[in-house]
C-alpha cells in the first residue's frame, strides 16, 4: 500500500483524511489535536448549538494539561472555578475533608468547574484558529455510513440537501446515544442503575466554598445523598439523590425542585433555576472502539455515571491518545496497526472508569439490609477511624489511567521505588529555561516524541546529537544557567521537584510519547535502546535497531 499523501487541503477532490461526527467536547478536542499536527479535519454536527444545560462541569488536571497543549487551557482556567478539596458530611456533621492535590509545584489544579457550554464555545473558538485545516459544518447530520478497507463513505443531511462525504478515517464522537453505533449494529453492554437523581443548576449569591461538598443523609433533603459544586457566574450545581421510585416528569417541575433548593439556601436568598433534569445512570462500553476505519471516542464508546467526573474527562483523554497515532498513520510514518493500540490503551481506561464509577454508585445506593449495614458502618466509623475513610466512597475523581504493561511501552527491568514508570502520565514541575524564564515542564512535553534527560549539567552535545531523527530532546539540569546545543531545550530544575517526581538520578532518561505518557525509561543515554523503544512506541517494533542488529 502506498502511504497516504501528506495533508491535503480540505475540500480537495477525493477523500478527506479525517471526518469527525459530533462537535461535543471530545469531537472538538480531536479536531484541534489533529490540526495541531497538521492533519485537515472535517467536523459534522447535526445542530448548531452548544450543549444545553451545563451537563459536564468538573474538568480534571489532566484534561486541562491536554488543553494546554492545544492552546486553550488558560482560557478554561481563567473562566472556571478552581478547586482541589472536598468535604464529606453525614447530616450536618463533617466527617472529613480531603485535598486532591495537597502539594504545590503544578501548573494546573486538581479540577476546575466550568459549564460544558463554555467548554464547547472555547473549543469552537480555538478550532477557528485553524481555518486551513478545520472545516466545521453545523446542521450536518450523518444519516448513513458505509466502509471498505480503504475508507468510509458518509451520507450527510445538510441544509442544501443530502451529500456524500468520503473519508479515510471517521471518528464517531456522536455521544452516548451514538447514531453511528446504532447504524453499525454494535451492542453497548453494561449496567443500568435504578436510582434516580435530580440535577439542578441554580443561580444565586451564596458563600459555599469552592470545594466539592457531599452529604450522606443530608438534613435538608429526605433522600440518601446530595452533592454541591460551585460554577462560574454564581451558578451552583446541586445533585439530589431521589431513590429508585421517583417520578422523573414530576420531579423536574419547578414546584418540586424549588422547595428542595430552598431547603438548602433558606427563604431569603434570591435564587433562579437555570436548568434541571432527572437522570438514571448506566455504565456501558463497546467491546471494541476501532471498527475498520471507524473509531469511537468519548461517550459513543463508553458511558459512566457522573460521580467521579470520569465521562468527559475520559473522552478528552481518548482524543489525546488517538490523535497522534492517527496523524502518524496518515503521514505514512506508522503502520495502520498503531490504531489498534488506541483500543488497547483506552479500553483499559474505560474499564477503570466504569469500575470506579459503578463502585461509587453501589456505595451510594445500598440495595439490601446487609449492604446498608456495611455502608452505614463505614459512615459511623469514618469520623473516628481513618481506615473507614478509605472505604467511604462518595466519588473517586477522575485521574489519568496508567498504560503500564501495554504493547507500546518498553518494560523497565529495574523501576525505581518512587517515580514514573513506563505507561505513567508525565508529572508536571516548575522549571526555569536558559533565558531565566520560569515555566512548566509539561509545556515542553507532548507534541513530538521527546527524550527527557536528567543531568547535573548539559551532556556533551555529541552524545545528544543524532539519537534518532524526529526525536526532540529536553534536558533537565540540577544546576542553573546551562545552555544546550542548538535544538536542545535546557531547563533548570530549580526546586528539584522534576527529579523527585520522575524518580530520576543524573543520567536517567525517559522517552515521552506525543500524549505526554512515559514510553520507556533508561538508566543512561543508550542510543540503541532508545531507538528500539522509539520504534516500539511508534508501532514499528520490527524496525527496532536491536532486531536488525
Amino acid at each position: 500500500m502506498t502511504p497516504p499523501p501528506r495533508p491535503v487541503p480540505p475540500g480537495a477532490a477525493g477523500r478527506r483524511p479525517v471526518v469527525v461526527i459530533g462537535a461535543g467536547p471530545v469531537g472538538l478536542t480531536c479536531a484541534i489535536d489533529l490540526a495541531s499536527r497538521g492533519i485537515p479535519v472535517t467536523v459534522l454536527d447535526e445542530d448548531d448549538t452548544v450543549a444545553t444545560g451545563s451537563r459536564a462541569i468538573c474538568w480534571a488536571k489532566r484534561t486541562l494539561e491536554i488543553w494546554d497543549r492545544l492552546g486553550i487551557g488558560q482560557r478554561m482556567v481563567d473562566k472556571g472555578v478552581t478547586w482541589s478539596a472536598g468535604r464529606v458530611f453525614r447530616g450536618d456533621r463533617e466527617l472529613y475533608r480531603f485535598d486532591l492535590l495537597p502539594e504545590s509545584g503544578h501548573r494546573r489544579p486538581a479540577f476546575v468547574n466550568l459549564q460544558q457550554y463554555y467548554v464547547e464555545e472555547y473549543l469552537i473558538d480555538r478550532a477557528r484558529d485553524f481555518p486551513e485545516l478545520i472545516d466545521l459544518r453545523w446542521n450536518h447530520a450523518v444519516t448513513g455510513l458505509d466502509q471498505d478497507g480503504q475508507g468510509v463513505s458518509l451520507t450527510v443531511a445538510t441544509p442544501e440537501g443530502e451529500r456524500v462525504v468520503e473519508a479515510e478515517w471517521v471518528l464517531a464522537a456522536d455521544g452516548a446515544r451514538s447514531p453511528t453505533r446504532t447504524r453499525m449494529g454494535l451492542p453497548f453492554p453494561g449496567q443500568r442503575f435504578e436510582e434516580r437523581f435530580l440535577i439542578a443548576d441554580v443561580r444565586m449569591s451564596a458563600d459555599f466554598p469552592a470545594e466539592r461538598l457531599f452529604w450522606f443523609a443530608p438534613t435538608f433533603h429526605a433522600g440518601q445523598s446530595a452533592l454541591l459544586h460551585r460554577q462560574p457566574d454564581d451558578v451552583f450545581r446541586i445533585d439530589f439523590q431521589l431513590g429508585p421510585d421517583a417520578d422523573p416528569e414530576l420531579e423536574r417541575t419547578p414546584e418540586r425542585v424549588m422547595p428542595r433548593i430552598r431547603a438548602i439556601v433558606g427563604e431569603e436568598t434570591p435564587v433562579s433555576l437555570e436548568w434541571c433534569s432527572v437522570y438514571a445512570f448506566r455504565c456501558a462500553r463497546l467491546a471494541r472502539f476501532v471498527h475498520g476505519r471507524v473509531v469511537f471516542v468519548g461517550d459513543s464508546a463508553h458511558v459512566v455515571s457522573p460521580f467521579g467526573a470520569r465521562g468527559g474527562n475520559g473522552g478528552i483523554q481518548d482524543a489525546d491518545n488517538l490523535c497522534w497515532k492517527l496523524a502518524l498513520v496518515l503521514q505514512g510514518a506508522a503502520p495502520e496497526s498503531l490504531i489498534a493500540t488506541y483500543d488497547e490503551e483506552r479500553g483499559r481506561a474505560a474499564d477503570e472508569n466504569i469500575l470506579n464509577s459503578s463502585r461509587t454508585t453501589t456505595f451510594m445506593t445500598p440495595k439490601t439490609r446487609a449492604e446498608r449495614h456495611f455502608r452505614d458502618g463505614v459512615l459511623d466509623l469514618a469520623a473516628e477511624a481513618p481506615f473507614a475513610r478509605l472505604l467511604l466512597n462518595a466519588g473517586r475523581l477522575s485521574r489519568p489511567c496508567s498504560l503500564a504493561g501495554l504493547s507500546l511501552q518498553t518494560p523497565d527491568p529495574s523501576p525505581p521505588p518512587d517515580g514514573l514508570r513506563p505507561g505513567d502520565p508525565c508529572a508536571d514541575a516548575p522549571v526555569v529555561d536558559a533565558a531565566g524564564r520560569a515555566g512548566w515542564l509539561l509545556d515542553r512535553l507532548g507534541g513530538p516524541f521527546t527524550l527527557l534527560v536528567f543531568a547535573d549539567g548539559v551532556p556533551d552535545p555529541g552524545r545528544l546529537a543524532g539519537l534518532a531523527p524526529g526525536l526532540a530532546v529536553v534536558v533537565v539540569t540540577a544546576g542553573a544557567g546551562a545552555h544546550g546545543p542548538p535544538g536542545v531545550a535546557v531547563l533548570h530544575d530549580a526546586e528539584g521537584l522534576a527529579a523527585r517526581r520522575y524518580g530520576a538520578a543524573p543520567g536517567t532518561a525517559f522517552l515521552i510519547r506525543p500524549d505526554a505518557h512515559v514510553a520507556a525509561r533508561f538508566a543512561g543515554l543508550e542510543p540503541a535502546r532508545i531507538a528500539d523503544a522509539l520504534a516500539r512506541a511508534g508501532g514499528r517494533p520490527d524496525a527496532s535497531v536491536g532486531r536488525a542488529a
Binding site: A217, F363, F374, D380, L381, P386, L390, N393, R396
Partner: protein, 87 residues
C-alpha cells in the same frame, strides 16, 4: 511498642493501625464484601458476617487488637444519624 501496656481509656483503640491496611485496594475489598452477600437473606447475611469476623479475628492474630476493634465497633453503634434512613 515494647513495654506498652494495654490501657482501656482513653486510648483503647490506639492499638489499631492508622495506616492504609488495604494496600491501596480499599474499594476492591468493599466490593468483595458486598458481593459475598449477593443472594443471601438477612439471616444468612448475619451468619456470613459472624463467620467472617471469626476468621478475620484469627487472622489478626492478636487478642488485644481484637479487643480494641470491639471497643471501636461498639462505640460507633447507634451514633446520632446512624438510624436507618427512611425508605
Amino acid at each position: 511498642m515494647t513495654g506498652e501496656t494495654m490501657t482501656r481509656e482513653p486510648g483503647a483503640t490506639a492499638r489499631l493501625r492508622r495506616d492504609n491496611g488495604f494496600s491501596g485496594g480499599a474499594d476492591g475489598v468493599y466490593e468483595s464484601l458486598i458481593r459475598a452477600h449477593r443472594g443471601l437473606g438477612d439471616d444468612d447475611s448475619a451468619a456470613l458476617n459472624a463467620r467472617l469476623v471469626l476468621i478475620l479475628a484469627h487472622e489478626v492474630g492478636d487478642p488485644e487488637v481484637v479487643a480494641a476493634a470491639i471497643t471501636l465497633a461498639r462505640g460507633s453503634l447507634h451514633r446520632a444519624g446512624s438510624a436507618p434512613d427512611e425508605v
